[in-house]
Amino acid sequence: MALIDLGKREIHCKIVYYGPGRCGKTTNLIYIHHAMTPKARGKMVTIDTKGDRTLFFDLLPLHLGSVRDFDIRIQLYTVPGQIMYEATRKLVLKGVDGIVFVADPLLVRRQRNKDSLAGLSNNLAELGVKLAEIPIVLQYNKRDLTESEIPTLGVSELSSDLNSELQAPEFTATATLGEGVFESLRAISKLTVHQVAEKNRLLD
């Protein structure tokens, strides 16, 4: 649920990075955190990580400039990807305004991507939101692995698996190197702010 503060002229939106375990959601946030100036971002909060896995969520607040006199403030969240944390994922999705679905290209994780997207759809439905109606972009991460000997999925296979119905904007990325990270963020921020502004007639 976006917050529009007419007194301070601010729009606050919540964007959630969703995807199967170890697909690189937290890596996206860490790259954004390092790449942005301290003025444009708040402190990154990471809760209860065990090894390199997120157990609750990560949070990174950003200040993305202004649109029509409104300051745009975005809070980026990640969800834990592991199957057992379904309840936590649903909790983090409360009040979500936009989603980046991060897909893992490893061939062995093909079904996990599909299951995670289906889980996203179910969790949103339980919160009264339709997946087709919320701004979403797909990020096909870890493209650097395609040059290794590990069996991976091509972009067209990932797109066919995950985006044939959604028809959402899609981006290739190597989050560890920052490739595609800001392209995905820019796209989802634009879509999200536009939808919030349009719904509330702030662009009239």
Binding site: I47, L59, Q75, Y77, L91, G95
Partner: protein, 137 residues
């Protein structure tokens, strides 16, 4: 999903009520947040709070997590939470299904007083924030 629209009139009316009931009673800081972790508005000042954004996000998550605990004992939700610290304590009260009020206070202020005053604020604050500007005197 509907957006939450906050007008200066609503903010002023809520601040007046919170100042009168809680800040003057010695509460250091009061924040009203939503379940998405957004800060709707805040009153008072506590120099120990350097990252209110994280505080709001964690409070929302805390409420969500304890709601899961509540279900394990056959309850739908816990409507209030209290965390006791050595110097500062926190009292959380759910105003409705979306809004949470948190008060931060020192051990010089009694928990009983905070509970009574926060309960008195529950309905008027909720009505102001969820109603229209026309309903505010």
């Amino acid at each position: 999903m509907a957006s939450f629209i906050l007008t200066p009139k609503k903010v002023n009316a809520v601040h007046e009520l919170i100042d009168d009931k809680l800040i003057r009673a010695g509460v250091k800081k009061v924040m009203i947040i939503d379940e998405a972790g957004n800060i709707i508005t805040e009153c008072g000042h506590d120099p120990a709070i350097t990252d209110p954004t994280a505080l709001a996000a964690l409070t929302a998550a805390n409420f969500g997590a304890t709601a899961q605990i509540a279900r394990l004992i056959g309850e739908e939700d816990f409507t209030l939470l209290f965390h006791k610290g050595e110097n500062s304590s926190m009292y959380f009260l759910r105003l409705d299904e979306e809004l949470i009020m948190l008060s931060i206070f020192s051990d010089e202020v009694s928990l009983g007083l905070i509970r009574c005053r926060a309960d008195e604020l529950l309905t008027p604050v909720k009505n102001i924030l969820k109603g229209s500007d026309n309903g505010i005197n």
